[in-house]
Symmetry: C2
Subunit: 120 residues, 2 copies
């Protein structure tokens, strides 16, 4: 049981969300995710994932020159990708609610940031 396992299927959605906002390239994406608290993403995670999403037609890519290295592959969302993002958000909210319920009702958990504690 590790953090990496908990990311399965969640990383996809986060990346879709970031791409929706503004087209990004893979190397940049790693930075952004790190800033959001996902520590140390290897490129071995990100690039295959982007390629997969492109194969599934959730994103498209265009190459652009860079002054600081080789060409960057910028990704943008397709309409299909937007729908997928919405579906992800629904699933994520469901999951969040379910897990929250389990933790609150079963484990005696003072839940999440900043909430007032409530004992059983």
């Amino acid at each position: 049981m590790s953090t990496t396992q908990m990311l399965k299927g969640i990383l996809d959605g986060c990346i879709l969300a970031i791409i929706k906002n503004k087209e990004v390239y893979g190397y940049e994406l790693a930075d952004k995710l790190e800033n959001y608290g996902f520590h140390s993403f290897s490129e071995g995670t990100i690039y295959p994932l982007l390629l997969r999403m492109q194969k599934e037609e959730l994103v498209t890519s265009t190459l652009k020159k860079s002054t600081a290295g080789p060409r960057r592959k910028y990704y943008s969302l397709t309409p299909k990708g937007e729908k997928e993002l919405e579906k992800f958000i629904d699933r994520w909210n469901d999951l969040q609610n379910n897990v929250s319920n389990v933790l609150q009702h079963e484990a005696d958990v003072k839940y999440n940031k900043g909430d007032e504690t409530h004992e059983k």
Copy 2:
């Protein structure tokens, strides 16, 4: 990208939480999870998971007779399991915060149940 992928590593924690509250047997667990909104858990998911957790010494089991079928294998948490549960809760809170931040800042998401909507 599916719901089942999003469960990876999360199901463990939920089960630990349920077991902490009161010893349960596998068949019962499936019911409880279903009630929490995790729809249709196959036993092929639950039993191997319980065996794995026992091998990792997070839970112990005792067999008890039942009047309604074969013997039930009741699971309880070990001290190690309790620690693991706490670690899970920490990781889950982190993950939750990170994903929430991504969705709020990047996608234009009216976030979670009942919140007021806010357009861009």
